[in-house]
Symmetry: none
Subunit: 139 residues, 4 copies
């Protein structure tokens, strides 16, 4: 039988540090957030729903992080191309309800490789992006 353990990319300690930095920024701007970190495989590594954050944003935050891995980009970078008159309009429908194509998802990059991603949701897209950026900067 093949022996081995799953390749770790973002560690639990790093995921916590990213979430804590994001939560600190969310507190600073007064907007509670759902914050998720996924690893290089797009699988959930850690999540925190701050008090007052949306229940509906649990999945949105996780899906923003997943989408950043899935398309190797910030989710905000998918926004124009997926609009009604864009070249890949319909993308958001095309993956079983797992994609988020608006700001708030940012890859966690090290040495040129995407090692994970953070997704943030509940605020405006500007707030989500700001908080996700603060998290990513702590990676």
């Amino acid at each position: 039988m093949a022996k081995g353990s799953v390749l770790e990319t973002v560690t639990a300690e790093e995921a916590r540090r990213v979430i804590d930095a994001a939560a600190a920024k969310a507190s600073e701007i007064g907007q509670p957030m759902d914050i998720a970190v996924v690893d290089a495989g797009g699988n959930l590594k850690a999540h925190l729903r701050m008090d007052g954050a949306n229940i509906g944003s649990i999945t949105i935050a996780i899906n923003k992080a997943y989408t950043s891995i899935a398309f190797q980009s910030e989710t905000g970078d998918l926004q124009e191309a997926t609009r009604h008159d864009g070249p890949i309009f319909g993308l958001s429908d095309a993956h079983g309800g797992r994609l988020a194509v608006f700001p708030g998802g940012i890859p966690l990059v090290r040495d040129g490789s995407i090692m994970g991603a953070i997704g943030v949701s509940t605020g405006t897209i500007e707030q989500d992006q700001e908080v996700a950026s603060a998290g990513a900067a702590a990676f």
Copy 2:
């Protein structure tokens, strides 16, 4: 073993009262409706499909109520921001098919907390909203 019972938010009696008030309004305007009430956790508490209401609206009514919990708002308040040129276009696709971003879902609020929500579907969005409002007013 841990002993306890799940925290009740909307009671069965309250859910029935909300549905009955909504159904009375629906009858008054001559438009049969699917009517759902969920608790503070977004879980179904009661449902009624009036005679002549749409089968497809069973899920829409439940999802409108869920969406009101999920985003702490009326579903109608999500409509402009999720349109093709809106800042969160694509939101409705980003949560596994559970979100409804048009009128007919309204939170049930008590003492500043959202204790549940009503969702109404089958009519026009104006009718859905009117019937949901009548239900919410009876909470």
Copy 3:
């Protein structure tokens, strides 16, 4: 428009304390774990996948916590009744793949009400249960 915020049951601080206590026990016994905490409505509040824990156990841990809310019991208490010759054999199939009917999910109880639940997965069921118990004791 109805104004209000979703009722909090388990706070973010409590969820973190529960996860940290569970993770400490997991480290003590040398078995990395997926650990999830959900609120009284069964919605995810916080999650941590320790380094070395299973990717497949992300969902199992979340579903164990959900199942504890869903049936107001430890998941291990469902095990005998759902076995092949049990009275509710088939329960685990009857809810769209969201139920876990083996040890590792424990309600978080306060003043007789289930305010949330912890779910733990990756180890043996004895380990999962031990780690979940350590988490629940910290609530």
Copy 4:
């Protein structure tokens, strides 16, 4: 365009009467229940989660009612054949998590036709069956 309205089988008034009779029996035996009624097409007509009933049993009750329509039988009649050594072992897995193969689902029959079904969940299977029977008797 084809004109018409969906064929009504169980009316809203009948569904309410069935649920109320079931709820009265549930109260009598001191076991709160999730109670669902579906129409001849297996689509939800009405639901009530009594205070104290399980959140997890929302779906189980609905699926019991659906299963009774789906296989034109009481759900309890499917139990032996779907056990580990039965001829259709695996049935409960074979329909996307929508089937319940233990007691508590009973067809609502009129003039030899199945016009709908009731599904009851939260108690023991004996209790679920007793409460479902009381509901079906009121049809």
